[in-house]
Amino acid sequence: MRAARWVVSRIAGGAFVLWAVATLIFFALRMIPGDPAEAILGGPGSQASAEALAQVRRDYGLDQPVIVQYLTAMGRLVTGDLGTSYALKMGVADLIGQQLWNTLSLTVLALVVAWGLALALAVWASRGGGLGTRVGSAMEVVAAAVPHFWLAAILILLFSSTLGWLPPISTGGPLGLILPVVTLAVPLAGFLGQVMRESLIDALEAPFALSARARGETENGVRWRHAIRHAALPAISLSGWAFGSLLSGAVVVETVFARPGLGRTLLNAVTIRDIPVVTGVALVSALAFILVTIATDAIDRIADPRLATS
């Protein structure tokens, strides 16, 4: 009962956020000087005729009062209609549908790899080795200081240009996915690893770990039966945020590796100011982010019953 109420309230909260994002973008656009009709016809340089502009205004409903335009846009949104791309003259929803899988597979894979890497780092450091701790600390600085594009460039130089092992461009094959995934996963693993390492070490020094040892439990038993769950909890909580940062990183990574996907679509749309596409990708990203956050919070509540009751 309580769980159901929690889910409903989270979904309602998510719907509110989506609505607010759409509204914010809509009105922000109306406050910026410039004629949307001109943008649709290729920007101020296109020198479109007055008739063409008027035609476009009628087609896109731009001659209507703002409030009517807003309500129309929101009404369409509810039915899943994200409008039409200015540049590509195709439905934004279809466009996103084509690209969604590419980006999701990239980000989810990167999240999984980052988790594995972070866990390995944390366990290594918790085994008392100074080296593991040092590598972990270095990874944290890497996570904070190395831009995706530079890491990607270094990886391409190393594994494509010099060693020739992996393609510099991420086309269909699984081999092409390796470098983009690594680029996204390594900095994230630095963040997650820091959190996991600290909570793992705390858990290994906690009274319940002493109780377990006094029962005759092995160090590995203490680590895997007890401490690892405590280390995973904060990292699970962070995974929603981590997924968001991966969506953001995908913009850069997809561009560097010339990989089709939402991020690259967004960048192209931003460059030519194809507003419906920008809005659409932003909304879909926000939706994905919200869903993942709800999912991770739900996992958190299952893994840690203390959360559900407090």
Binding site: P207, L210, S211, A214, R215, R225, H230, R306, S310
Partner: protein, 546 residues
Amino acid sequence: MNSISHPCTRLLDVRNLSVGFGRRGQQQTVVDRVSLHIQPGECLALVGESGSGKSVTARALLGLVGNRGTVSADRVDLDGHSLLGLSAGQWRHIRGRRIGLVLQDALVSLDPLRRIGLEIDDSLRLHTALSPVQRRERVLELLESVGMPEPRLRVEQRSGELSGGLRQRALIASAIALRPPLLIADEPTTALDVTVQAQILQLLAHLKQQGTAVLLISHDLAVVNRIADRVAVMRGGHIVEEGPTDAILNLPTHHYTRALIDAVPAGTPRGQLLVQERHNTPTAVPPPMPTKTGAPLLEAANLAKTFRRPDGSRFTAVDDVSFHVRSGQTLGLVGESGSGKTTVARLVLGLTQPDEGTVTLAGEAWSRQRERERRARRHLVGAIYQDPLSSFDPRHTVGQILRDAVGSGENGRSREAQVARLLDAVGLSSGIRDRRPLHLSGGQRQRVAIARAIAPSPALIICDEPVSALDVSVQAQVLDLLDELQKTLNIGYLFISHDLGVVQHMSDTVAVMQRGRIVETGPAEDVFRKPDHPYTRQLVAAAPRL
């Protein structure tokens, strides 16, 4: 020592055990040539204050002092087999099977993310070849044997879902799952309510009767008195005195043991100092404002307060509570955790508004007022908390804290003089002024808190568990200080504590709280000597005494 027991009957025999921490060369010795022995069915108590090395001794016996510690001994024999130089695998064979460990507070000593059944099952899984079904049966038996009600239900719960007493029982069940001949109990009842503590002690005594040897680690002489056959008093890593419990508690030979016993407030009459030598005489601070003649200083009438639980239901924290405090007198408010004591403190401090009832201060309304109206009379009421450190702004030094408390009414120089007087009054040197509370000892922090509380010359101080976190000797000094200040400054105290001994020693009048209600009230001597209410009787009976 002059023990009469023969080596052959000794279950545990330790000679000159030393434990040091830190790197070679700059090693710090925490346990220094400790010798002790226990027979089957005997309870030896290792008593000492924090930092005495008693817990490290216990961990050394389990081979669990950690990588940074080095252990040496002439002999550590368990049942005739040496525990010296065991490999990790051999130690695991000992732990749980030959020696069990019970720690303080099972909320954190049992894995909060795992069901307690699984925690107990672990011991069986590690040391026996029983099938999962057999183990489950055994877990249920164990829970039953430690007095856990509804074991089938409890086995599925986690430590956070159980009450303090029940989860401590679960922890004990996990420690005795393999019937180890030696059980080490490290502060097993600390943080438990007195009635629950009595039950857990009874459980340990029962195990002892069945032949288990118990090494009890405790700071509390009264607890030790309940169950221990022999006592070893530890200080600074040494055992300073050891012998039968009666002899040690009644005829201590070492001065430290005597000081420890004297410091226990229970049984020491009201007004008598606990520490013999006085460190200083507090100098007089301006006397508090006289109250309107006749009216008590503080009067609480029919206070009630309910709170909303996270799930929306309401629970009554304070229910129809009335009492009064007179100038220069102490009302002791005693009760177990969750009885509503702290809510009463907050109501009296004007930090929470009562749902019903009123608080009157010096004859004038205090509750049900706007904070703005109350502020002018805030100086009449001070507060001292259980955890003084968190009540100080971490950015401020002792000097800043006290200057702030003295208030802006004074000019710079007289403020400084006032701070110096306050420090003197609570027995702190003026050199402490530039230090932060973080770098002070627990006793010093509480003295600073007291100095802050008396700075505005209050007529009343609310003391909420002011000595619960302190070692007994420091507790005695702080209680003495509060006593002296009351005499010189004629302050009224509302003294809140779970510790019957402390309340008895400090109070003129006592009110006993249970589930939000005051069930009994009266002169301290009467209430403790001839308790009326069944709950009070239960409390008094449960309270361990020297």
